[in-house]
């Protein structure tokens, strides 16, 4: 077993433990602001995993967008609303039970499926980046094969931005 271990795997397992720990914290913490912090941890861990599997550009994007922007945004939102908000203590209503059962069972089914599947070994000899560095390769792909979706996504972001501004704007009296 140990023979299979290499450095990357060790790092991966440690990272996994961290991510899952943060996730469990996120679920169990009761103060909203702490939950946001736990979320930041998850995002960071995921970014590291991306680096580990060789998706550097995605990892950087994860760092910038998720760990950087979204976490901060969420904290702002918490501060702007009632930042003292607490999750109520866990009460086992039927919905809680059903949700928990759904989550656990789904997890079990997925894990069992993953386990019972023989995954092909990753073809180590294939260079996904085709000789370029990963960001360059992703860039080429984005602007060559996915140019139109890319532009559409930029449009979506603009619309999202404008929409968010309009929605969050303080309404003046005469608007109502």
């Amino acid at each position: 077993m140990l023979a299979y271990l290499n450095g990357g795997m060790v790092v991966f397992y440690l990272l996994s433990v961290c991510i899952l720990a943060c996730a469990v914290l996120l679920i169990n913490l009761r103060k909203v602001i702490y939950m946001a912090l736990a979320l930041g941890g998850i995002f960071l861990g995921c970014a590291a995993v991306y680096f580990l599997v060789g998706a550097e550009f995605v990892g950087v994007a994860q760092l910038l967008v998720y760990a950087g922007a979204i976490t901060i945004l969420i904290m702002f939102a918490i501060m702007l609303t009632n930042h003292e908000a607490m999750e109520p203590a866990l009460r086992w209503t039927w919905r809680q039970v059903a949700a928990a059962a759904a989550a656990v069972l789904l997890c079990a089914v997925l894990l069992w499926t993953i386990r019972s599947t023989v995954w092909p070994p990753s073809p180590a000899d294939v260079d996904l980046n085709q000789g370029n560095s990963n960001p360059v390769a992703v860039g080429i792909m984005l602007f060559r094969d996915y140019a139109v979706p890319f532009e559409l996504v930029s449009l979506l972001l603009i619309v999202g931005l404008v929409g968010a501004v309009i929605l969050a704007r303080e309404r003046k009296e005469e608007d109502e």
Partner: protein, 635 residues
């Protein structure tokens, strides 16, 4: 000339259409004039056709295609035989007279033109019925005359009795008609055609079959079903109950439809289908017995009725029974002969009664009396009709009725003969009871008597013509004429003459004449110039229950009402109840069930997205798990 026989029914139809177009505002003179002229023309054509038929024998049929049924073709058209040549002559003559008479009788009625429309439609239908060359066409016009009868009985629609009587007449005859329809359909399948000749040829051969019934039984079944139609239309027992009620219609209608023509259509049907009946002794016996029972029963009822028209109506039923009996015992020619004489004298009696009603505005015999002085012409013509009905020599009824009595005895039906003789006695009694109550004695209601007066010439002329016919029509088939009618009917094939004929039997003639005179004498003893006005009442009390039984028409109406109408209404109520409280209730229960389930399900709609997503997640779980199990995992 015979090829133009289609003109006979078409002329009244033209009058009908003309009046229909003119509508309800047509002047009385135009409506009556057009009708009478068309009818008279029709009569003249009929006379020509009759002459031609007498010399040439049967002609036709002339056909055109009406409907294709698979590979079979149904035709319409007309034919002239000796029998229907005679019929159209009688029908068109009586129709012309009644149409003329109505101009006076219905004068001033707000729906005068409508009355003439209906009458013309009836005359057309009746003539077309008689000229029909096949059973289906006969049935069509059979129903059409029934419709006209319905319309005319209910002509005074605002009288509840008229409305009820119209409905009753249609429904009761409809029962018989349904039997006739079934009979026609069975004959069609058995012989492959509606045409008389084909049907009779097959019936005569007797080798026919429907799979479930064949041969003699089939013949009897069909004959009885056809006879059921005749029973309904000719008001024979047990379907006679509609005819007396039909007297709610205007009196000319009673004279034309319910005495002379339409009710005789049943007799005509049996006569026309005589080969079929001859092929089945059982059916013939049934016809004879039904005829005899009807003749006696109706005569007994007529003894005590107070309504002048009802007496004559029951008399009609009774006389139709005579005709049926004649046909039933095989005396074809005598049945037809009596049909003809009866048409004249019964139309006469009704028109004369109409003249009386017109004069005194009541139909109750015991509100009349002494009218001879006011209505001498009516009295004399009525007397002619009464003598003819009673069978007094030399009036028309004597010859035909006597022929029937003789035939019944000579063909070996002494019981039937006895019944008829008794009925003949009653007939003489009741018709002279009417005569004496109406025309003799002191006026019972002087104020009515005061206003009574004879109608105008349009009313008296038909009376005179009919009185003449009632007096002389009997000679057509008397020894004085060498039994002319028989020779006319059987001229084509003397060797194949249908049914029984016999020379006159003088002792029997004397016997029946004696019976008639006895009846008249008894009536005179009781009702003629009663010294004490109470005599009729004492007479009634003396007979007690028998009187009541007769007066209440043997309670047949009540029995039918209980047996048929109540049963039918009961079933209808039960069906309606089932419909509302079983079937529809079940439907409502199913609806409620669905509704309650949906009310329960409503509570699952909490409006919380998380609750919905939880269910969705469980669903996803189930789907994924099921897919995995089906695939046995991914290998």
């Amino acid at each position: 000339m015979v090829a133009y026989a289609w003109l006979v029914p078409l002329l009244p139809l033209a009058a009908y259409v003309f009046l229909l177009v003119l509508g309800r505002r047509a002047p009385e003179g135009v409506a009556a004039g057009v009708s009478v002229v068309c009818s008279l023309a029709s009569f003249l054509v009929s006379a020509a056709v009759f002459r031609a038929a007498a010399s040439q024998g049967p002609v036709g049929p002339y056909l055109f295609h009406w409907l294709t049924l698979g590979s079979a073709s149904i035709s319409f058209g007309f034919e002239v035989t000796r029998l229907n040549a005679l019929m159209i002559l009688v029908v068109s003559l009586v129709s012309t007279l009644v149409l003329l008479y109505s101009a006076g009788y219905m004068h001033g009625d707000e729906r005068f033109p409508v009355f003439y429309q209906y009458l013309n439609l009836f005359v057309f239908s009746m003539l077309a019925l008689v000229l029909s060359p096949n059973l289906l066409q006969l049935y069509i016009f059979w129903e059409m005359v029934g419709l006209c009868s319905y319309l005319l009985v209910g002509f005074w629609y605002f009288k509840p009795e008229a409305a009820l009587a119209a409905k009753k007449s249609f429904i009761v005859t409809r029962i018989g008609d349904t039997g006739l329809l079934i009979g026609i359909v069975l004959l069609y399948w058995a012989s492959g055609s509606f045409d008389y000749s084909t049907v009779f040829a097959a019936a005569g051969a007797g080798q026919w079959s429907l799979g479930w019934v064949s041969g003699q039984e089939l013949t009897t079944l069909c004959a009885l079903l056809v006879f059921l139609g005749a029973v309904g239309k000719s008001a024979q027992f047990p379907l006679h109950v509609w005819l007396p009620d039909a007297m709610e219609g205007p009196t000319p209608v009673s004279a034309l439809i319910h005495a002379a023509t339409m009710v005789a259509a049943g007799v005509y049907l049996v006569a026309r289908c005589y080969p079929l009946f001859q092929a089945s002794p059982g059916a013939l016996a049934t016809v004879a017995w039904i005829g005899a029972i009807t003749a006696l029963l109706a005569a007994l009822i007529a003894l005590t009725q107070r309504d002048i028209k009802r007496v004559i109506a029951y008399s009609t039923v009774s006389q139709l029974g005579y005709m049926m009996l004649a046909l039933g015992v095989g005396a074809y020619a005598y049945g037809v002969f009596h049909l003809m004489t009866h048409a004249f004298f019964k139309a006469l009696l009704f028109l004369a009664a109409g003249s009386v009603i017109h004069a005194v505005d009541t139909q109750d015999l015991f509100e009349m009396g002494g009218l001879y002085r006011k209505l001498p012409l009516t009295a004399w013509t009525f007397l002619a009709g009464a003598l003819a009905l009673a069978g007094v020599v030399p009036f028309a009824g004597f010859w035909s009725k006597d022929d029937i009595l003789a035939a019944a005895l000579n063909t070996g039906h002494p019981v039937l003969w006895g019944m008829l003789l008794l009925a003949a006695f009653c007939t003489a009694f009741y018709i002279f009871r009417v005569y004496f109550l109406v025309f003799t004695g002191a006026p019972r209601q002087p104020e009515r008597w005061q206003h009574a007066h004879e109608g105008s010439w349009v009313m008296t002329l038909p009376l005179l013509v009919l009185a003449a016919m009632a007096t002389i029509a009997g000679f057509f088939n008397s020894p004085l004429n060498g039994d002319g009618l028989e020779h006319f009917l059987f001229a084509d094939s003397p060797q194949h003459q249908i049914g029984y004929t016999a020379p006159e039997n003088v002792p029997l003639m004397l016997l029946s004449l004696l019976v008639a005179l006895l009846g008249i004498g008894l009536a005179a003893a009781v009702y003629w110039r009663p010294r004490q006005s109470q005599r009729p009442e004492r007479w009634a009390r003396a007979w007690g229950p028998f009187y009541t039984l007769s007066y209440r028409k043997f309670y047949l109406d009540e029995v039918y009402y209980a047996a048929l109408v109540y049963t039918g209404k009961g079933i209808a109520a039960v069906v309606d109840w089932i419909d509302r409280y079983v079937i529809d209730a079940l439907v409502r229960v199913v609806g409620r069930l669905v509704y309650s389930v949906s009310v329960l399900l409503k509570f699952s709609q909490t409006g919380q997205v998380q609750a919905y997503s939880t269910v969705a997640a469980l669903g996803v779980l189930v789907l994924v798990a099921w897919a995995m199990l089906r695939a046995g995992g991914v290998h």
